[in-house]
Structures are given as C-alpha cells and as structure tokens.
C-alpha cells in the first residue's frame, strides 16, 4: 500500500511537473500569450508602384523591399499585380522584387504588402564594407573637408564619436559645411557630405533609407547614416548626430541606389502607406511556429484546419467538465443520472444558453416521462420501449422547434442540439428510479444532474479558461494530475456529513 501511495504521488508530481514546464516553456520562450485578447502592435506597410506602360514593349519594373530589418520581423507578405511575373532577388544588402510582363497597356499598378511586427532581434546581417573609394576633390572642397575633419578629430575618441561630431559640425551650417552641402541642409545632402568627409578619413559609411512606422498615408523614405567602426555598423541620426536606430525606424534599403526602376514605362510613381494592424498574439505565435524549428509549437492544435480547431476547442473543455463532476460527486456527494451525462447536457447548454437549456431539458424530460409512464401500460420490452421513447423525444423536439419558430422564439430552435440518446436514457433511468425509489428520489437525482450540468457549463464556457486550455493543451496534464490527486480523497462527502449528523450526536 505504501508503495502504491508513493507510485501515485510520484505520477502526480511527474505529470504536474511535465505539464507546468511545457506550459512555462511555451509561454516564456515561445511567447504563446496567456489570454486571447493579447494583441501585439504590428504594422501593415503597403508600397505601390504605378506607371503608364509603353505599348508593345516588354515591361520590367523593380523596387527594393525590406530584407531582415533590425527591430522588425516580417509576419506575412503579399505581391499583388495583374498578370505580372514576380521574383525577388537579393542584390547586395538589399532585396528587390522584380515584376515583368511581355505586354501591357495603359496605367499599371504593382503592390507589395507586408505585415511587420516588433521583434526583439536587433542583429543586422549587413556585411563588412569593401575597399573605400576616395573621391577626388577640388581644392576648395579638400580644404573644407580637411578643416572639418581636423576640428572633429580634436573632439572625438573613436570612429563612432568622429562620425557623430562630423554630423554635428555639418549641422552648424557654417561656411565649410555650406560649401560641402551646396547650401542645402536636407538630410540626404548632410549625409552625402558626411560620407565624403568620413571616406577621406578612410572610414566606411553609407546612407540608409527607411520609414518611421506611424499611421501615414503617404510615407516618405527618410535618410539615415550607417558607419562601419571596423566591427559592426553604427546608425547615426543625420539631424542630431545621435547614435543608434530608433525603435520605430524600419530600414527599407541600404545604399544610395534609386528605390525603384521601371523599364518600358513612363511616369513612375512610388508610394508607401503605413497603417497599424492589431494582430492576435496567438496568430503571431502560430506564424512564428511555422518559421521556427520549435517542434513544440509546430505540433500544436493551431496547425490544424480551422474547423477541426473549432471542434477541439469544445472537446478540450470536456475534461474540465469531468473534473467538476468529480468534485461534485466525490466531495459533495450530489447524485446524478449517469456519471458524465451532466457534461453532455452542459455541452448542449453552450448552444442553447442556460435558462433556455434548463427550460427545454425540463420540458422534454417531463413529457418524455409522461410518455414513458404510458408506454409502461403497454408492456413493452426494454429495447422497443427505449426506441419508442427515443422517437417520442425526437417528436417532442420537432414540436418545440416548430412551435417556438411560430412564436418567434429563436432559442427554441436550439433544442435540436440536445443529445437525444442521452435524453432518452435519462428518461428511462429516471422512470425506473421513480418506480423503485419513489418520485422524490427521482426528482432529487434529476435536479442534481441539472445542477451539475449548470456548474460544469459555467466552468466549461468560461472564455479565458477555454482559450487557455486550447492554446496550452499541456494543461490537461496538470488537470490529470489534479484528478489523480483529488481521487485520493478518502474523507467524508458533504452530504455524508448530513447523513451521519444524527448518528454523530448519539456516539458522543
């Protein structure tokens, strides 16, 4: 016996431990959210290239699209066009999408749509730069560059601070800066001038184009400066000289090449639209599961077809109902017809709702009982009697549906969802109990069953719980452990206390 106890508690602990650790792993490491309403801010970025196609020439259009941008992950992307062939190529550090068609007429529209979500990953896959080409400068430029770089060198310690100071120096808008930027202090001119100075000091640098992700209909590609410090790339704000990439900055392309290119078309127009799309955290977890190698996420219910998922959403609540029945029967001592009949009735309540469900259940069972008492007089054998009751039950269901339809009560239609075989067995058992143990016993068990059904319905239809058990089926292991543990209960049931109450008084 002691051995057995150790065995069962070991099993309980093992199940509990396994369930909890899978649960925690999936929550903390794989980011499966705890509640259904948890949403993650993500952005839908739509870029659109429009142009008028030349007649009778093949058209080839291309534009750059983001490729593994820092701070962001691409959840989904679509390429939309009419009849174009689409390919995506890696071109240096950039990714470009190429659209081609043999013949096209009139205005053309090419769409690239992607959903980005913020990610923790910050590592950029930029390669180290090649040899730096030093531009040949004229006399005045050279002296301006030298002056600035000398000043900057005084007030800097390393490549990063050198680049930052250069930007600050240029933004002072003094004579040398004006000379280098041509008196145009836009971001791109400042960056060009900065790159010129840095390259003269044998520091690799390049411009970057990207977007600030915020609701905008016509988003502009903003410029940023990237500087190579010998180990990795440092991003520097061309206005302030601040280092580091802002969290909301989505890098669209590296380098200075034009963003788009059209062969065989006129009047090209490239626009970008940004809009926030709240995405259910669970679907993000799911798509991450598809990308990642985690088998634990891949083998989850989320990979099943949607209609199968819906079935499992319901099925997974059944153990919760069974657990409730365990408590009601073994701890409280409520009598029910059939062990798990209340769970099935509770499943039917999901569709009918509680009040209507109880009304319909009581109606059908009481009319069914009347029919059963009448059939009793006919002296039928067991199976024909059950078949007859089943038929009567279905007739009653039809009657209720038709009557309630005519009365305009929609809820009455849901009667068809009651498990009729269960209803039949309930009627039969209730009738036998009625005959043998009396009406009060039969009604007591009937009310007990309904009560248990309502309680388990409440537990089973509690949305957060439903979601939790669906997103984390391993919680069933914990539930199993609880069931085994509660199954060890040897003490008195609540109703037993009532039964032994008078007895307890006498033994004092």
């Amino acid at each position: 016996m002691k051995n057995n106890t150790r065995h069962i508690y070991g099993l309980i602990l093992t199940l509990f431990f396994i369930g909890t650790s899978i649960f925690l792993y999936r929550h903390w490491v794989l980011d499966v959210p705890l509640t259904d309403t948890e949403t993650i801010n993500s952005w839908m970025v739509e870029s659109n290239l429009r142009f008028v196609a030349d007649n009778n020439t093949p058209v080839k259009a291309s534009f750059n699209i983001p490729y593994l941008p820092p701070h962001y992950a691409i959840l989904d992307e679509y390429f939309v066009s009419r009849n174009y062939g689409v390919t995506t190529n890696l071109n240096g550090d950039n990714r470009e999408t190429v659209w081609s068609i043999r013949r096209a007429h009139g205005p053309q529209s090419l769409y690239y749509r992607a959903i980005f979500r913020q990610a923790e990953s910050n590592d950029s896959l930029l390669r180290a730069p090649g040899a730096i080409k030093q531009q040949t400068l004229d006399e005045s430029q050279r002296s301006a560059v030298d002056t600035i770089s000398n000043q900057v060198r005084q007030s800097s310690a390393d490549i990063k601070t050198f680049a930052q100071s250069t930007i600050k120096e240029l933004n002072k808008h003094d004579g040398n800066a004006k000379l280098l930027t041509g008196n145009d202090f836009s971001d791109s001119r400042v960056i060009d001038a900065a790159i010129l100075i840095l390259n003269q000091s044998k520091i690799a640098a390049m411009p970057i184009k990207g977007l600030y992700l915020a609701q905008q209909n016509k988003a502009e590609l903003k410029d940023y400066l990237a500087v190579y410090n010998g180990k990795n790339w440092i991003y520097i704000n061309p206005r302030t000289g601040g280092a580091g990439l802002p969290k909301d900055f989505l890098i669209w392309q590296y380098g200075n090449e034009p963003v788009f290119h059209v062969d065989g078309g006129k009047h090209p127009l490239f626009t970008i639209t940004v809009s926030p799309t709240p995405i259910n955290a669970l679907s993000i977890a799911k798509s991450r599961g598809l990308q990642s190698d985690s088998q634990l996420l891949r083998f989850s219910l989320l990979q099943l077809p949607v209609n199968v998922q819906a079935i499992y959403k319901i099925l997974l609540t059944v153990p919760i109902g069974a657990f409730i029945i365990l408590i009601l029967r073994n701890f409280i001592g409520i009598k029910t017809f059939g062990t798990f009949m209340p769970v099935l009735i509770a499943l039917a309540f999901r569709e009918t709702h509680v009040i209507w469900g109880i009304c319909l259940f009581v109606t059908i069972v009481s009319f069914g009982l009347l029919a059963r008492f009448y059939l009793d007089q006919l002296r039928l054998l067991l199976v024909p009697r059950l078949a007859a009751i089943l038929t009567v039950v279905i007739l009653l269901m039809i009657l209720i549906s038709v009557v309630s339809q005519n009365l305009g009560l929609d809820a009455g239609l849901s009667v068809a969802l009651f498990p009729m075989v269960i209803l039949t067995m309930t009627i039969e058992r209730m009738c036998i109990t009625w005959d043998e143990r009396g009406a009060s016993e039969a009604i007591k068990s009937g009310v007990g069953s309904l009560f248990a059904a309502v309680i388990s319905y409440w537990a089973m239809s509690y949305e957060p719980l439903q979601y939790l058990i669906f997103a984390f089926p391993e919680l069933l292991l914990i539930l199993l452990a609880l069931i085994l543990w509660f199954g060890q209960y040897r003490g008195y049931r609540l109703f037993e206390l009532k039964r032994f109450k008078a007895f307890a008084r006498t033994i004092e």
Binding site: M1, L382, R437, R490, G491, Y492, F500, F503, E508
Partner: protein, 317 residues
C-alpha cells in the same frame, strides 16, 4: 461542519470514498464480481460448500418458458421470483399462494398470469439488472419468517446483514421490512436496520432512514434486546463466504427460515454504510483490528475467525 467532520473521523466512521478505495478496490478483485452479481452462481457455490440456501425451483431464461409459465409454476404453492443479476432488491416478487387462478403476493396483491409474464419478460430484457444487460429469473422456495421476527416486521422477510472482512465478521445488523419499504429489507427503500451485538447476537438499537429508532414504526413493538437465534451458525456461514468467493470485503445476507434455520440469501461486494448507524459505531476501528489480526495469523479457520470477532467486538452495554 469541520467539527462534525473531525468527530466522525475520530470515531472511525467509514466514508463512501474510503470504503471504495481502501476496502472494495483493495479486497475485491473485479474478476470475482460475477460470483456475487449472479445469484445463481452464488447459490451453486454455496451448495458446493455445504452452506444452506433457499432451495432452487426453476430457472426462467427464455420467452418460450414464460409462455408456459403456469405449467412450470403449477407444482409450487408459494415461491419467490428474483432477477439473477438484480441489485438492491429490485424486481423481486414473493408469492404466498394461488387463489382463483391468480397468484397472491405477500402484500395481498393479486397478480394475473399475464402480469406475471410481463414482469418476467421485463426481467429477462434486463430492466432490473446492473447496466441493463439481459438477465434470467430464479424461482426459489419462499422463506417463511422465523417466529422470533414475526412481531417486529411488517410483511416481507427480515434478514441479517453481516459485513465480513477477510472472513472475520466485523459488523452485523438485522433488517426489518416496514410498510414503507413494501416488504423489502433494503434500508434505502425504508426498512429498519437494527444493530446486533457480535458476541451475544442481541439487538442493540435501530436506524430508520438516517434517524435512530427503538421500536418498529408499523407494529410499535420494541426492536431492542431480543436475541437472534442460531447466532453462531449465522456467523460461521458469513465467515465461510470469504473462502467461497475470495472477496475480502463482503456483505452477507442471511435469512432465518421457520423450518430450515439460517439460509444464505445473497452476497454483496459493495455493502452500504448504514450498518454503522445501526450499530451506533464506526466500522473502521474493527476493520483495522481485523487487518492487523490477519497480518499476524493469516491462516485462521472459520471457527477461529468467528471466535476472534465474538471476543473482540462484544458490546458491554
């Protein structure tokens, strides 16, 4: 509430949950259940072991037999019809004699042959059996109440229920039918349970539903202090049922026939807890004592077991 819980626990009163896990599941292997669930098998086993049982008249297994039921029943003036796999005394009919071509039940109700046939067909199709499986009917000799019990029972036949653990009689009670129980001796149907002193066989005090009672509600005769006859024989029958079936935790039902003395009626593999109320004592202490004794002397004979129980479970009051 918690106080009540603790008080019951201190007095070693067995709960349903504990009965199921610590006794039924431990001592009664499932594969042995058919021996007690089928009354005919129990009867045959008992006969083989030399335990007295009510004589078997007929077995009704098919509808054909029901058709000529009158013919079959002709030789017997009084008899009992029982479902072989019935539970809780359901489906049992007791017939006293035959008048005007009708069978008279013990409660005076006259039953036509047609009604009897319907009852039998219901019985065969499993209306009274556990789980609704098909069943057959046993027709056996009607037990005639021993005069000792005539004053304290209303219709029906009182029986003696003895709980045995590993063959040691642990607790005993007499079950007296009442008008409410319809002549049946089952407590949940309204019969009275009266505790019996293990040593002397004297009745102690009764329980009606869950309340204490000291007189019979129908006859108003006192039910305390009369002596159950054949007491040692009854205990020996109960004790030997363990060797008979191999079931360690048993409820043995014994009736006293006017002519034949104690007869073993049926066995129950999951006896109820009301016997504790009838005895006004928890069962757990006795069970633990028996378990300890069994550990120490595993090979005791029936006589030794009975002697142990009579010695240790005596009531001085």
């Amino acid at each position: 509430m918690i106080n009540l819980f603790r008080r019951l626990k201190n007095h070693g009163i067995l709960s349903i949950n504990q009965r199921n896990t610590d006794f039924v599941l431990r001592y009664n292997p499932r594969k042995l259940y058919p021996l007690v669930d089928d009354k005919l098998k129990t009867k045959q086993l008992a006969l083989k072991a030399g335990i007295a049982v009510p004589p078997l008249y007929e077995i009704i297994e098919t509808e054909q037999q029901i058709k000529r039921i009158e013919e079959i029943l002709a030789p017997y003036p009084d008899f009992v019809i029982k479902p072989a796999r019935g539970s809780g005394g359901d489906g049992i009919l007791v017939f006293k004699d035959k008048v005007y071509g009708r069978y008279r039940q013990i409660n005076g109700k006259l039953t036509t042959t047609q009604e009897l046939s319907y009852h039998l067909s219901c019985l065969l199709s499993g209306a009274y059996s556990l789980g609704g499986t098909s069943d057959y009917a046993i027709i056996e000799k009607r037990v005639v109440v021993d005069p000792v019990f005539a004053e304290v029972s209303y219709e029906g036949i009182p029986d003696i229920r003895i709980i045995t653990l590993l063959g040691y009689p642990a607790m005993a009670m007499v079950r007296l039918p009442t008008r409410l129980s319809g002549g049946k001796a089952n407590l949940h149907q309204g019969a009275i349970g009266v505790g019996v002193d293990m040593a002397s066989g004297k009745t102690l005090g009764g329980v009606f539903h869950n309340d204490m009672i000291d007189y019979h509600p129908d006859t108003l005769n006192p039910i305390v202090g009369f002596e159950v006859p054949y007491w040692s024989q009854i205990l020996e029958i109960a004790s030997s049922c363990y060797d008979l079936t191999g079931l360690g935790y048993l409820g043995v039902d014994i009736v006293l026939d006017k002519d034949h003395g104690p007869l073993m009626l049926e066995l129950n593999a999951r006896p109820g807890l009301n016997i504790q109320i009838a005895n006004r004592e928890g069962g757990l202490k006795r069970y633990r004592q028996i378990e300890a004794r069994h550990e120490a002397f595993p090979q005791e004979t029936v006589t030794e077991k009975v002697a142990f129980s009579r010695e240790h479970f005596a009531r001085s009051s």
